[in-house]
């Protein structure tokens, strides 16, 4: 009886947003008289960071400090229509809608500043610190705050913008499946190292390493949060979770967290992530969205690592000790496969 180490890998891509379009998001932005901006959305922040992503996208496009932008979700009376936070669509669809709204608001902002500075709006730039100045001549400047004051109380301008982003509806050919599905794809590859106990069938994930191509990491800390949390979910999908452990027999269903198997803190493996950025032509600053895909490569990489360790292919998820032991028994014992470099 022994513990066998194994290493497996997988590589995947992921479609961003609702397939086949018909997938709109809207955003409204306005400034208060002090040059502080509110972004009104009906998008949902379920922990993934919708408010912060759109805040950074809005600040970038407006050319103002991030602290001067506040994102408000979600009230159907004030936030304009959005399909919802699913299908990894939030950053991409809503990010683009916010860019469109911020562009319009920025246009008015620069017009108002131009009027105050008595220059052409096309010659103005923002410094991202709350100032607007003539390109190449930072001394000819006005603050965003003073501009908003002037727009509101003197010029009678609304520094506001509306944005919509729509992937238009497409159709499907019934015979061939020809279609225009998603326009942006993210990519990943992952290596998992496991140890399998051939006496108990238990799998321990020792460590994982991955490379994710996400277009643009709009907030790297939140990317890390998504990818780490998603990898935990991937381990859980691969080795532990299901409400129907003997599917399609529905019996033995768990009723609470005491009965529903999930990994605990001790089961979390060290995880090294590398981010690649190949901007999506239609993404906000090239951004795609890691929301859903972060669990996907973990499942097959672990399954392949289990095979590498003991020579058992488990094709049915989750990969339980019972399934591994049955496989080892059928094979007449553990059959470790050739070790892979670095494992």
């Amino acid at each position: 009886m022994a513990r066998h180490r194994g290493r497996g890998m997988a590589s995947v891509n992921y479609p961003i947003g609702m397939n086949l379009g018909g997938d709109p998001s809207q955003a409204l932005i306005h400034s208060n008289p002090d040059g502080k901006f509110t972004v009104a959305l009906s998008a949902i922040d379920l922990g993934q960071g919708m408010k912060q992503v759109t805040r950074q996208v809005a600040a970038e496009t407006l050319g103002v400090p991030m602290e001067d932008v506040y994102v408000d979700t979600a009230d159907s009376d004030t936030g304009p229509h959005d399909m919802g936070s699913f299908a990894s669509r939030g950053t991409h669809r809503m990010g683009n809608a916010v860019i469109a709204a911020a562009r319009e608001a920025r246009g008015v902002l620069l017009e108002a500043a131009a009027e105050e500075l008595e220059v052409n709006a096309g010659d103005l730039v923002t410094d991202g610190r709350g100032n607007i100045h003539v390109k190449g001549a930072p001394s000819r400047s006005i603050t965003v705050k003073a501009t908003a004051q002037a727009a509101q109380f003197k010029q009678g301008k609304t520094i506001a913008g509306r944005g919509i982003f729509l992937i238009p509806l497409s159709t499907v050919d019934p015979q061939t499946g020809e279609m225009n599905p998603n326009t942006a794809f993210a990519h990943a590859s992952l290596v998992a190292d496991v140890e399998v106990d051939d006496e108990t069938g238990e799998v321990t994930v020792l460590k994982m390493a991955s490379a994710y191509e996400l277009g643009r990491a709009i907030n790297p800390k939140m990317v890390e949060q998504q990818l780490v949390g998603g990898a935990w979910m991937g381990i859980s999908h691969a080795l532990y979770e299901t409400p129907e452990p003997y599917y399609p027999d529905p019996s033995h269903g768990p009723r609470d967290f005491n009965e529903y198997l999930m990994p605990g803190p001790g089961d979390i493996a060290p995880y090294s992530i590398t981010v690649l950025e190949r901007p999506a032509p239609d993404g906000p600053f090239g951004g795609k969205g890691p929301g859903e895909m972060c669990a996907n490569p973990v499942l097959p990489a672990i399954a392949n690592a289990v095979y590498n360790a003991v020579g058992v292919r488990v094709n049915d998820l989750p990969i339980t000790p019972e399934k591994i032991l049955r496989g080892i028994k059928a094979n007449g014992g553990a059959r470790p496969q050739p070790r892979r470099g670095g494992g």
Binding site: P248, P250, N304
Partner: protein
């Protein structure tokens, strides 16, 4: 630990950005870490009532009789709701995009199709009273045969799970019992392949297990409106669904949400909103309907099971020349969103690889279990598991290293995908190379030299002559296999391309549109005569000319006005593009 490889694709990226790319603290973090962020259940109301539902104890049964008289007389009970009280007691979620037929009641009337299906709702002054009254409802059931296995469900003579789809499958295009993908000629390619790798995969259901269970609070608002505190993942999606089921104009509903305690796809279904609003309408008081943990686990709609069969034809040099896939989504008793996931899965096949012959049949099957719904990676996660384990077997069959095998077969810019659109912006090869590097996985020099940017297109961009079939015509299960009906000539496309917007920040977007001046980094300058705050006296300027704006690039055009029937409320309905038109 997270690191960047900024050297890769650097030529395609404009990194001269101010805020984007910074790991700034989240706007809502102080509220979250101090426990002050308000979630739907953090709203107190005077006179709040509690709603609990009576659920079916059987997997499949006819309802002979429902007796609620004892429950109505129970202490604290304000109202008992039955199917007849629901204005539009049949809905399908994707009717919001005009996809599929209404098939699911809010409260079952004549039949229950899964264990846990809601039959009666009790509204009482306390949760305890609602639970006590729930036990007093008498439902007389006639148990009928059930089916749990997707392939059993599709056999002739299987129990009919869902009367709207009497063959136990979702109807695609009013024509087929499955979603089809056909590209090239897989059978001929199999015949010429050196190795055939064939296997079956199964993903069991998975529970979303959000910290915050599904729930909502609805309350009468002034002026004949209702405010709804919701945990919906799509606020207008839920509003539209509730407006339709309750036959209300959408502007009588005021949804508040946006801060949700975990969803993972399990809060798209509007499981509670229609009943809590109906309760508020019927009682004139605020009503709270929240699933307890056991309800969330057992009846809160899981990630559905998928069964996937894959057959690959592989050459000795490692090239995959054909891939055939047959898979089954287990929708449970009602459609919810499974019909959409099958289409998404179809478009995703054969995975991120360039394979010249691909065929897929994707079924959505109804079984007598809790309806499944979206979950993180919907339509993709299970098939990616199957594909990537199958890739491992393919590499083994032809004696190649698994990474080299993937790099060899990876799709590249310019390659034709099986759904007849050209791949671009690809990066699979680079991801494999980077992960090989960091894990010390040995790669050959040749594999290291490969790039997503080169080597694609050319012959790899061709659409092959494609054999078509008429297998799986609706209502005729004996037609699931059959002869080739025609061969579509090489290069044939039938669906117009959609115009793709191009945004700034990417190589193709340059030069930058004039309306978005480049970020010019801050250079400290003396504050000069520009104080930070210059309060201006209010000076009305009634004669001022209308403000002129820098013309922004016109946003994508809005959808055409909805042509929905006037009796239908809720969100705008788009026209149907796939599947079956709504009746």
């Amino acid at each position: 630990m997270l690191e960047f490889r900024k050297d890769l694709f650097a030529a395609e990226r404009d990194d001269n950005l101010n805020v984007v790319g910074k790991g700034a603290q989240r706007q809502d973090m102080p509220g979250h870490v101090t426990g002050r962020s308000p979630f739907f259940d953090d709203h107190a109301f005077e006179g709040l009532l509690h709603l609990k539902v009576v659920r079916s104890p059987h997997h499949h049964a006819r309802i002979r009789h429902i007796d609620t008289s004892a429950a109505e007389r129970a202490p604290g009970v304000k109202r008992v709701l039955r199917g007849a009280d629901v204005p539009v007691n049949k809905n399908t979620l994707l009717s919001l995009i005009n996809f599929g037929k209404d098939d699911e009641p809010t409260l079952a009337v004549s039949k229950v199709s899964y264990k846990g299906e809601p039959v009666v709702a009790i509204i009482a002054e306390t949760e305890h009273q609602a639970l006590a009254a729930r036990a007093l409802v008498r439902v007389d059931y006639e148990v009928i045969p059930h089916v749990f296995d997707v392939e059993e469900a599709l056999k002739p003579g299987a129990p009919v799970v869902n009367e709207t789809y009497p063959n136990n499958y979702f109807d695609y295009h009013d024509r087929y019992d499955h979603s089809k993908l056909r590209f090239g000629d897989v059978e001929r390619a199999f015949a010429g392949a050196d190795f055939i790798v064939d296997d079956r995969y199964q993903m069991s259901p998975i529970e979303h297990a959000p910290t915050e269970t599904n729930g909502s609070i609805a309350a009468p608002e002034q002026n004949d409106r209702f405010v709804v505190h919701s945990c919906a993942q799509g606020l207008f999606f839920s509003l539209g669904t509730a407006a339709k089921i309750l036959n209300l104009e959408s502007n009588r509903l005021h949804f508040v949400g946006g801060t949700v305690g975990g969803g993972f796809g399990g809060k798209v279904d509007s499981l509670t909103e229609p009943l809590s609003i109906l309760g508020a309408m019927m009682t004139g008081q605020p009503v709270r309907y929240v699933l307890d943990r056991e309800e969330e686990m057992l009846y809160g709609s899981p990630r559905g099971a998928e069964r996937i069969y894959i057959k690959d034809g592989i050459m000795r040099d490692g090239r995959i020349v054909a891939r055939r896939i047959r898979s089954y989504f287990d929708a449970g008793a009602y459609t919810r969103l499974s019909s959409y996931a099958a289409i998404k899965c179809t478009a995703h096949l054969p995975g991120p690889y360039t394979i010249p012959n691909v065929s897929a049949d994707i079924y959505v099957a109804y079984t007598n279990r809790c309806p499944s719904t979206a979950m993180r990676g919907f339509g993709i996660t299970a098939v990616d598991f199957a594909l990537e384990v199958h890739m491992d077997k393919g590499a083994e069959a032809c004696g190649m290293d698994p990474m080299e095998f993937r790099i060899l077969n990876a799709y590249r810019d310019g390659d034709m995908k099986a759904h007849r659109r050209v791949a671009k912006n690809t990066a699979l090869i680079e991801c494999v190379q980077v992960v090989a590097d960091k894990t010390g996985w040995p790669l050959s020099d040749q594999a290291r030299r490969q790039s997503s940017l080169t080597g694609g297109g050319g012959a790899r961009a061709d659409i092959p002559a494609t054999v078509l079939d008429d297998n799986g015509r609706i209502g005729r299960p004996e037609t699931r296999t059959g002869p080739v009906t025609e061969t579509l000539p090489a290069g044939t496309m039938r669906i117009p391309m959609t115009k793709q917007p191009i945004m700034e920040g990417s190589a193709e977007a340059r030069p930058t549109p004039p309306a978005v001046p480049q970020y010019e980094p801050y250079r400290p300058t003396p504050p000069a005569n520009q104080p930070a705050y210059q309060p201006q006296p209010y000076q009305p300027t009634p004669t001022a000319p209308p403000p002129t704006q820098a013309a922004p690039p016109s946003p994508p055009s809005a959808p055409p006005p909805a042509s929905a029937p006037p009796t239908q409320h809720g969100a705008v309905r788009f026209s149907s593009v796939f599947g079956t038109r709504r009746r």
